[in-house]
């Protein structure tokens, strides 16, 4: 098929480039990662020697460490919380852009909404660390309004991380929701109104089911970005909140134990694969629809 379409020479080039990407940049590195995670951490002199055997020790490190399991669980829990908050925040916005405002205006709204995305994630997290500071503008404003008397400590536990992750990732929920809702025929909404359906019922029975693929891909995107985030937890986290990526980072850079690091990275990958397949099954969406 390719050859008849592009000829031998071009086909060779096209296939070679694709193979370079998929084999050398994607598949083999991940296999090496998997392989590494089952090998012990040894000094260079012993590598390939009699001690260099397959072992489950790196994974055992995780399953024997209560703290690491807890951090893994909390990362999953708070990433889910962030995903849920993003969904709730985005839904009305996406509906407004897709069905309420005319397409011409929607384009303008989008330009404004996109602005924060042009400023890097580090900067955005940094901005929130300024806002949430004990003597920062948020507390000052609340005190000025007389709503509170003492400054609130915003950045305790996972609060800072949640605020930062919701802010940096919420737009990745808005866009897929918008795309999905846009293909809904507005006549359906009007017909439902004419037949006396309540606002709640219209959304529950018509809009939300239609937006299911968008909800699926939005949730996958936000969850992955949150669980895999390094910047937000390290800038906005507190002493009591640690993220799984920070543990991986420690194995890689502080302990220089790349094998255990690889095992932990692989656990993160498994988490993400599990979440994706769960979402695609629950919401009945296809991977093709997710990455669109």
């Amino acid at each position: 098929m390719l050859i008849s379409r592009y000829g031998r020479g071009l086909t060779g080039l096209i296939v070679a480039m694709t193979a370079f990407w998929l084999v050398l940049l994607v598949i083999v590195p991940n296999l090496i990662l998997l392989n590494f995670s089952f090998r012990p951490y040894l000094p260079i002199s012993q590598m390939g020697g009699s001690n260099d055997v397959y072992t489950l020790a790196n994974y055992a490190t995780f399953f024997h460490s209560f703290i690491h399991i807890e951090i893994f669980g909390l990362t999953v829990l708070y990433s889910s919380v962030v995903t849920f908050i993003c969904l709730v925040l985005s839904y009305p916005l996406a509906f407004f852009l897709a069905k309420v405002t005319p397409p011409r205006n929607a384009a303008t709204w989008f330009l404004v909404l996109l602005l924060p995305l042009w400023v890097s994630e580090v900067m955005r997290s940094f901005a929130w660390s300024i806002i949430l500071a004990n003597h920062g503008p948020l507390n000052a404003a609340l005190q000025g309004l007389g709503l509170i008397h003492e400054p609130i400590r915003w950045r305790t536990g996972f609060n800072g991380i949640i605020v930062g992750l919701v802010y940096t990732n919420v737009l990745f929920m808005v866009f897929p929701l918008y795309n999905a809702m846009q293909s809904l025929d507005s006549n359906q909404i009007e017909a439902a109104q004419d037949l006396g359906a309540s606002l709640w019922r219209i959304h529950w029975r018509i809009v939300a089911p239609h937006a299911k693929p968008g909800i699926g891909s939005g949730c996958i995107m936000v969850f992955m970005l949150s669980a895999g985030s390094i910047l937000v937890p390290s800038i906005l986290g507190s002493a009591s909140s640690r993220w799984f990526t920070e543990i991986i980072q420690q194995w890689m850079f502080e302990s220089l134990d790349w094998n255990t690091g690889a095992a932990y990275a692989f656990l993160l990958l498994i988490l993400c694969i599990t979440f994706v397949s769960m979402m695609t099954r629950i919401l009945n969406v296809k991977l093709v629809d997710v990455a669109r």
């Binding site: 990407w21 400023v119 000052a140 910047l231």
Partner: protein, 291 residues
């Protein structure tokens, strides 16, 4: 929706509030950049100053990091646009069964956490005795940015009528000519979009770069180290410059789009439909841009 004017008012208010929420941190950044306080904040207000810009301007390390980021981004564009195009061509002519598998493998890097990509890259190349550095960052970033390029090119490819290729071949054109005269011109807009997205994705990237770059700092990594270590507001000055540039970029983009739409309208009467489609395509592209 017109009948529910109260509902409409409420939802509009919500959207405005949302936009304020999205913009407020940027305002705080901007304010902190010109506040004459040793700590990066807008409160208490200590008066107007430009000294953070002066400090930023004299920060040699920052400029080095900027240059590194640009070089990495250009290299990533140079790899991922051709690779993404090749992959799109392959998938476009693959058989249905094979296609789904291929597509899954190609899209997977987008759904893989950056830390995992970074660690996999460094472990693999370390095996081949290539040590960490910006070259590995380029490869690591290209592994998932190529997927965006592939998606954009593939989307554009779907509007190319295969009959055109066949007709050209029947009329005696060589495969090279078909590529040069039909396929590449048709894909040009997708190349431009892919290049822009690849560039910004690369400059933005932190997770992959952190694990692959070794001791070399790109701009994001440098900013991160500054934010972690310090209290100097010169990072706010940098942020303000970035915000200003993105505002100008957005304005230029808006202008360009309007002009392109006008040209289209002049060229053909069905322009309105294209414009709507154009407005729709802003969203997914932007979504992909930072995923």
């Amino acid at each position: 929706m017109k009948r529910f004017s109260v509902g409409r008012l409420l939802i509009t208010a919500y959207v405005v509030a949302f936009i304020v929420y999205m913009i407020a941190p940027l305002m705080v950044m901007g304010g902190a950049a010109i506040n004459d306080s040793r700590f990066p904040s807008i409160y208490p207000w200590m008066g107007l100053t430009l000294r953070w810009f002066v400090e930023l301007f004299h920060d040699g390390q920052m400029w080095l990091a900027v240059i590194r980021s640009l070089l990495v981004a250009l290299a990533v564009v140079a790899i991922s646009v051709p690779v993404g195009t090749a992959a799109a061509l392959v998938i476009n002519s693959a058989q249905a069964r094979f296609r789904a598998v291929l597509y899954g493998i190609m899209v997977a890097p987008i759904l893989t956490p950056g830390a995992v990509i970074g660690i996999a890259t460094i472990l693999f190349w370390n095996r081949l005795h290539v040590s960490a550095g910006l070259h590995l960052s380029v490869l690591g970033q290209a592994s998932f940015i190529s997927a965006y390029a592939m998606l954009l090119v593939l989307a554009r490819m779907q509007s190319l009528d295969p009959a055109l290729e066949e007709a050209a071949l029947d009329l005696g054109a060589s495969h090279g000519q078909v590529m040069r005269r039909i396929i590449i011109p048709h894909l040009k807009p997708a190349f431009a979009a892919a290049a822009v997205i690849a560039f910004f994705q690369s400059v933005e990237n932190f997770n992959v770069t952190l694990f692959t770059a070794g001791n070399t700092q790109t701009l994001t990594v440098y900013v991160f180290s500054q934010v972690r270590a310090g209290i100097t507001p010169k990072i706010n000055a940098l942020a303000l410059l970035m915000i200003a540039m993105s505002l100008m970029g957005a304005a230029a983009y808006g202008n360009g789009r309007r002009r392109a739409a006008q040209r289209l309208r002049a060229e053909q009467e069905t322009a309105t439909e294209d414009e709507v489609v154009g407005a729709r395509s802003v969203a997914p592209m932007a979504g992909q841009q930072l995923a």
